[in-house]
């Protein structure tokens, strides 16, 4: 058998943990092509200790480790929101497609903000289009993975909860 390096193991553990907290399968997560980039982002942003602690924490707690929240949001929209920004609706609104105005007190472009934190960033262009959010809502990312002419006239379908499909 092949030798799996500890880096490979860590990455696999990260994906396994992410599957549990996002509600998507490991297959789905690998399928985004973002696993490595997200793992690296989390390590770079909060350090290996914090990532390890987050993965060991009780994922079901409402006030769980904010790093867990950052990791979930990362998979869902490809944006790294710093743990200190957890719960900030204004920051979320600022980064959403289609939003206009309302700049929150978090600066652009990598400068330090008023609260000493750096602004949210999109890990890469693909990270946006690979966001899980869009699959969760039975849609596609605005501006990518188009569903085809006229498909919007049909009722929405959700991959995971068929009982809620509307007719």
């Amino acid at each position: 058998m092949t030798q799996e390096t500890s880096a490979d193991t860590e990455l696999r553990d990260f994906v396994r943990f992410s599957a549990a907290v996002t509600g998507f399968s490991e297959f789905d997560l690998w399928g985004t092509g973002q696993a490595e980039a997200y793992h690296r982002t989390a390590l770079e942003q909060v350090g290996p200790e914090a990532v390890r602690a987050a993965m060991a924490a009780d994922p079901s707690a409402v006030h769980a480790d904010p790093v867990v929240k950052s990791i979930i949001k990362l998979w869902y929209v490809g944006v790294w929101y710093r743990p200190e920004q957890a719960g900030r609706l204004d920051v979320a609104a600022w980064t959403a497609p289609g939003r206009s105005g309302a700049k929150p007190a978090v600066p652009e472009g990598g400068r330090d903000g008023e609260d000493g934190s750096s602004p949210p960033f999109v890990v890469s262009p693909d990270a946006y289009t690979e966001g899980l959010l869009w699959r969760a809502i039975g849609a596609h990312p605005s501006g990518a993975k188009a569903p085809g002419y006229g498909s919007w006239a049909t009722p929405p379908a959700f991959e995971d909860h068929h009982e809620e499909e509307v007719r």
Binding site: A20, T22, G23, L89, P125, G148, A153
Partner: protein, 637 residues
């Protein structure tokens, strides 16, 4: 259509964006110098080029050919941008800046001077934008292509409000058809024949209408047949699709049975993309496949003619005027080296006729910076700035309705665009937004933060709740008429300059009570519609935002529509208007001001189609002007 009557695919001539240097352009003698490579400028250049005139386009934006690689760099920039506002696909360019909605704030003496382009010193600030890249604002426009109503052209006579046009619907009708062909409009005549809008016998739109979204159908089930009483009249509402400048299924009956060949993506090589909308739900800020019309499609045709040239990275900085006869003698441009450098050379380009097509704010800004107001008999340059006032209302439907699918907006309610009530309050159109609450709240990202961070949802429950919550979102955007007011205006001020030393536009814009009466009515209507749909009204207005407006004791947020107009209105009297019905300047014989700035009113239709129709009309007049100017006998009567 089995006989394939093929027109050339839209192949942009490689190198055209850079092959003409500013120095060469300044040495040349041009029949027409066109400022701005957006929708108006491209149509003018294409039409004049077609008529055999030598045309130079001056474009302030970056000098890249319109090819797929460049277009995809826009798309990639959008994907990767932390802030996805409607300018996010386009590179930051300090030398030809654009307003950004994220920069909207009242400018105070201590506001950093590089924090904004559009200067607003009032408490109320509009977050409206326009785009300064090749193709102009059409690169990010949504693509709705409504005609104005016949009654919009004589609002003053009919309802005692606003201004009359020097043109009627019937005068403009043939040009509307020309614009609908150029922009490639998808709609059905039967559905668009309302409130007096009429079409010649046998006319069909180039393509069939966009199919209404499932969300539209859901709303229609509640709204169709709803009766509204307004100023003693009864109106019956229905959900109707909008005409859209995006590719759908060609109508074989078009053009007397010849059919229509959609124009797809523009590039320097043969690509087959964008012949039909794929439902990317991203019309604003960028259609990924170019199924939506943008001016690059017209510009490409223009540049393929050989007698049309373009100089990019050339910011028109001054209109040179002969003090004696008030003719324009040249346009002085600052030609910058690169986006990240403020080095530039100054040149003056000369032509027989000059056509300013830089959009309402930039046309006015350029003329004011050139001190032309003192030569204006009306002194209305920059005045009468208009934009649609948008009031948003949002609610949660009882069942998933498929929100976030389709084009940004496929249908709406248009029955209150016109009527006698316009004597006292503004008419409006209603957009059913297929993209959910995003515009109002920042959804779906805010929903994510709410569910993950505040409610602590995880795993399958998170996934399910998100789907259920977002798919039920309904956003109604009321696009409210706003009449010309002299005090709503663009000015310039020596205190505010950009990186090249050009004066920035200073905008003062307030929402008039006539519009707010329409807004208040719209708000009530939204509540009624939500009630009929069983939707939970979730609308909240914030009085601490720059968009806050008080009316009758209530606060509303009125956001910008990016439908800027009116800064050089057309009319019949040189003392009361800036241009005549051909968009010919009253004060400068060889100057035309073409674009939405000429509109004396904007009614309740997105301005682009009307602006395009006017551009086609004016192109004929400019061509006649040039033929006369070039004629050997120059006796003037």
């Amino acid at each position: 259509m089995t006989s394939y009557d093929h027109t050339d695919p839209v192949i942009f001539p490689a190198g055209a964006a850079t092959e003409t240097s500013a120095a060469e352009a300044a040495q040349g003698e041009w029949d027409a110098v066109v400022v701005g490579g957006g929708m108006a400028g491209s149509i003018i250049a294409e039409q004049l080029g077609q008529a055999g005139h030598r045309v130079l386009i001056l474009e302030a934006g970056p000098g890249k050919d319109l090819d797929l690689a460049e277009y995809e760099s826009y798309l990639s920039r959008f994907y990767g941008a932390a802030v996805k506002d409607n300018q996010s696909p386009y590179p930051f360019n300090p030398n030809a800046r654009m307003p950004r909605s994220t920069d909207t704030m009242p400018v105070r003496p201590d506001t950093p001077r590089d924090a904004f382009y559009l200067v607003q010193e009032d408490e109320y600030c509009t977050d409206t934008t326009f785009t300064r890249v090749l193709g102009g604002t059409s690169m990010h426009w949504e693509g709705k292509a409504l005609r104005m109503l016949p009654e919009d052209f004589d609002l003053r006579t009919k309802y005692g409000q606003g201004l009359n046009w020097p043109l009627s619907y019937d005068d403009l009708e043939p040009y509307y058809r020309q614009a609908e062909a150029e922009l490639g409009v998808s709609a059905e005549v039967e559905e668009q024949s309302y409130l007096g809008m009429h079409f010649p016998e046998g006319y069909v739109f180039p393509m069939h209408r966009m199919p209404p979204s499932y969300l539209d159908q859901t709303v229609a089930r509640g709204v169709d047949g709803m009766r509204v009483s307004l100023a003693d009249d009864d109106y019956t509402l229905r959900v109707r699709t909008f005409p859209q400048a995006r590719n759908g299924v060609p109508n074989p009956a078009y053009d007397g049975g010849k059919g229509f060949v959609p124009v797809g993506a523009v590039s320097t090589s043969q690509v087959e993309e964008g012949e039909r909308c794929q439902g990317n739900t991203n019309c604003v800020p960028i259609c990924p496949v170019q199924a939506k019309y943008h001016a690059g499609k017209t510009l490409t045709k223009a540049l393929r003619k050989g007698n049309v040239k373009i100089v990019t990275q050339a910011v028109a900085s001054k209109v040179e005027i002969d003090e004696h006869d008030r003719r324009v003698t040249g346009i002085t441009v600052k030609h910058y080296d690169a986006l990240d450098s403020d080095r530039y050379e100054t040149y003056t380009v000369k032509g027989t006729v000059y056509v300013l097509c830089a959009h309402a704010i930039e046309n006015a800004r350029l003329m004011l910076a050139s001190d032309m107001q003192r030569m204006s008999r009306s002194e209305l340059i920059g005045c009468n700035l208009m934009d649609h006032a948008y009031l948003l209302s949002w609610g949660l439907l009882p069942k998933p309705a498929g929100t976030m699918r389709g084009t940004s907006c496929t249908s709406g309610i248009t029955d209150l665009r016109g009527g006698r009530f316009r004597g006292t309050q503004a008419g409006f159109g209603v957009d059913i937004h297929n993209d959910g609450w995003g515009w109002a709240t920042g959804s779906p990202y805010t929903d994510l933060v709410e569910l993950v961070d505040q409610r602590g949802l995880r795993g399958p429950e998170l996934r399910r709740t998100l789907g259920n919550q977002i798919s039920r979102q309904l956003l109604l955007a009321f696009m409210i008429d706003l009449l010309p007011e002299r005090s709503n205006k663009v000015t310039v001020n020596e205190r505010y300059k950009d990186a090249l030393g050009n004066l920035k536009p200073v905008v003062s814009f307030k929402i008039p009570p006539y519009t707010m009466r329409g807004a208040a009515f719209a708000r009530k209507l939204a509540s009624d519609i939500f009630e009929r749909l069983g939707a939970e009204d979730r609308t909240v207005y914030h009085r601490d935002r720059p968009s806050a407006v008080e009316h009758d004791g209530h606060w509303y947020n009125i956001v910008g529509g990016n439908h800027l107009a009116g800064t050089h209105i057309m009319g019949t009297d040189p003392a009361k208007s800036v241009v005549d019905h051909t968009q010919h300047s009253w004060d400068h014989d060889n100057l035309y001001l073409v674009g939405p700035g000429s509109l004396p009113s904007i009614g309740t239709s997105n301005i682009s189609l009307t602006m395009a129709a006017l551009a086609f009309r004016s192109a004929g007049h400019i061509s006649r002007y040039l033929r006369a100017a070039k004629a050997p006998i120059t006796v003037r009567g």
